[in-house]
Amino acid sequence: MDDVMDESTAESAALPQKRYFRQRAHCNPWATNELEHPISPKHVDWKSLYPAFPATPGQVEFADVGCGYGGLLMNLSTMFPDKLMLGMEIRLKVSDYVKQKTEALRVQHPGQYQNIAIVRTNAMKYFVNYFQKAQLSKMFFLFPDPHFKRAKLKWRIVSPTLISEYAFALREGGIVYTISDVEEVHLWMAKHFEEHRLFRGLSAEEMEKDPVVPKLWDSTEEGKKVTRNGGQKFCACFERIPSGALS
């Protein structure tokens, strides 16, 4: 009996392998397909995402938009063990992978990795369904899909429309971290964040002092791939400034 029990827990605690969860990288976020989404932040079952915490709406502090295979979340989980972090990913197989991996990690390392979770959702359309006003303290956009063609520019995760929503969900002083290996995408994101009234760019010294910035480079699957191929990465960070500070 004991052997059977050990086997099954060992099986369920085995880390899932990425090669069984590969999926096409690009998709159309403007398509209204049948993605279930919560009516509002109060309607989300936070307890099922973070069972070890008395999760209430308004507790999540870090949001990884387009988290892919969850590399950044895993890394930050041990750095900030009492901050709740949510990953948002639109691809089904990839979000399943992260879910299974989180569960496996929680079993393998009891007490750890309880503060990360993933939801499968279209962050462009349903971002504000998950977060209340001025809730988040950090947001991450790691290697977002470039969508080069002119007709696809509105699919980019950073646009003036969406930056207003991110400014709504971020608290004053909250930081947005962006990194990309495509220079054009990096310049696009930097331009739009700088132009928005409610954000200001962080200087190089401020970025050096921040302990999270070094994690952006190689935590994720995409980041490791770029390093393997010998590509360049461009990083930029922005702070949400108070609305009242402007005329």
Binding site: L35, E36, I39, L92, S159, T161, S164, A167
Partner: protein, 461 residues
């Protein structure tokens, strides 16, 4: 067909490319004064105007996102953005949205050819004999809703790609302005708060966004609670931060637009779940509020009823809103749109022979007895009937009562635990199968495999 009023003195019915403006002397009760109709035919504009409209640099080609309309393939000037569909349809004008300023001085009209017209019916508090055109310009994208700001100096236009633009009443700039705010979805309605401090926009993704005005990149809150596209929003009174909203989920909800919390909700369906199955085309389409008797009037598209709901607002200590049980008044045909002028309720019906009717004395309406029509609107009614019959006879528009919200339902059911395989749109195989299923059989390739190696009959000789 669209019916819009400013509540007291001006009403506009827009159908095809024609406007029927009705003015009423608001200093006298609507039961004693006639409604004077004026017809403006936009087809005649091409001859009257020698100068072409100012084309803005931003009016680029449409993206050509095709959607299949529920009225069938003959998309006569359908607002879904198909520009190159039929050559004879391209130049057909169809009015898509109308707004009247609060005092009734200005009327703004947008059509599917992206022209924005502004008319005035008053000149220095004197009513003009005929409405006068003040400005005409081109806007970047097709739009679903427009509104005036409370100071009547600007017009906000909400377009089909989710952006809202602000224009001044007179055409002083040739360039299209940058959008002041955006959604990632079709915008269905836009409203500015009476103190001009907030702008509320509703979209197909069940959201109502409340942003500061005029610096609309600062969002105040989101009013979340609807489970289908939000159709119309209305701010009933300037005293409380309450917004009423109607939706494809057949409910009317009230929200506090400063905090975003849902105050109350009432469903207009008697039986069945709050979400009727999509494709039935039932949704709450109109919303009108009478401050005199504090009643909200609304109607369900495709049903023959007008509903009256009494609105009770308490501000102490917290903002609380309640709808009292509703009154249901039967009509002779499905209700397209409703509006209020003083104490008279105006109703557009989906009946080419009798498209327009009125209900007088809205404070004394009864469900069972007969309600009086307002005889002073008979001139308007006659004029409208003539216009409808002219259009039907000319045959230029196949569906006058076309429903602009028919294909806005979001087509998903909440609470289903099973993830269907088609939900994964990234899987190429499923995507191709989905397309093949939608295409009619005539276009499907013949996939029957003919077996050539095995003979049909085995003959034993």
């Amino acid at each position: 067909m669209i019916l819009v009023t400013n509540g007291s003195s001006v009403m506009v019915t827009a159908l095809a490319d024609k406007l029927l403006i009705g003015t009423v002397d608001s200093s006298r009760p609507s039961t004693q004064t006639d409604c004077r109709p004026h017809l403006i035919d936009h087809r005649k504009l091409e001859e009257a105007y020698s100068a072409p409209p100012e084309k803005t640099e931003a009016s680029l080609q449409e993206n050509g996102q095709a959607t299949v309309s529920t009225t069938g393939k003959k998309l006569v000037a359908h607002n879904s953005g198909i520009k190159s569909y039929k050559p004879d349809v391209e130049n057909t004008r169809w009015i898509s949205a109308v707004a009247i300023s609060l005092s009734g001085t200005f009327i703004a009209v947008v059509d599917n050819l992206k022209d924005l017209f502004v008319y005035t019916v008053r000149n220095n508090s004197e009513s003009l004999d005929r409405p006068k055109l003040i400005s005409r310009r081109n806007i970047p994208k097709r739009c679903m809703a427009i509104t005036f700001t409370s100071d009547e100096a600007s017009i906000i236009v909400a377009d089909k790609l989710g952006d809202a633009y602000i224009f001044s009443i007179s055409a002083d700039t040739a360039q299209a302005p940058a959008p002041i705010l955006g959604h990632i979805s079709v915008l269905t309605d836009v409203v500015v708060s009476p103190d001009d401090r907030y702008i509320l926009t509703s979209d197909r993704d069940e959201k109502i966004r409340v942003s500061h005005f005029p610096l609309a990149d600062d969002i105040q809150t989101f009013c979340l609670g609807h489970t289908e596209f939000v159709c119309r929003i209305l701010i009933p009174s300037p005293d409380h931060p309450v917004v009423l909203s109607t939706s494809g989920d057949c409910t009317v909800k009230a929200f506090n637009y400063l905090s975003g919390s849902e105050l109350t909700s009432v469903s207009l369906l008697e039986e069945g779940p709050p979400n009727p199955s999509p494709g039935t085309g039932v949704y709450v389409n109109s919303l009108s509020y009478s401050p005199a008797i504090r009643t909200v009037f609304t109607s369900l598209r495709s049903k023959n009823f007008v509903y009256g709901l009494q609105l009770h607002v308490e501000a102490d200590p917290d903002l609380k809103v309640a709808f009292l049980p509703l009154q249901k008044i039967a009509m002779t045909a499905p209700v397209v749109s409703i509006g209020l002028l003083g104490m008279t309720l105006l109703i557009l019906l989906e009946d080419p022979k009798n498209p327009f009717t009125t209900l007088m004395h809205i404070d004394q309406l009864s469900e069972t007895g007969s309600n009086l029509q307002n005889p002073h609107f008979s001139g308007y009614e006659e004029a409208l009937r003539t216009v409808v019959q002219d259009i039907e006879q000319s045959g230029q528009f196949t569906n006058l009562f076309r429903d602009p919200f028919a294909d806005m339902f979001n087509m998903f059911s909440r609470g289903s635990e099973v993830e269907s395989e088609h939900a994964d749109t990234d899987s190429k195989k499923g995507f191709r199968k989905e397309i093949a299923r939608q295409v009619s059989p005539a276009y499907r390739p013949n996939t029957k495999r003919v077996k050539t190696d095995v003979p049909e009959t085995m003959e034993y000789v």
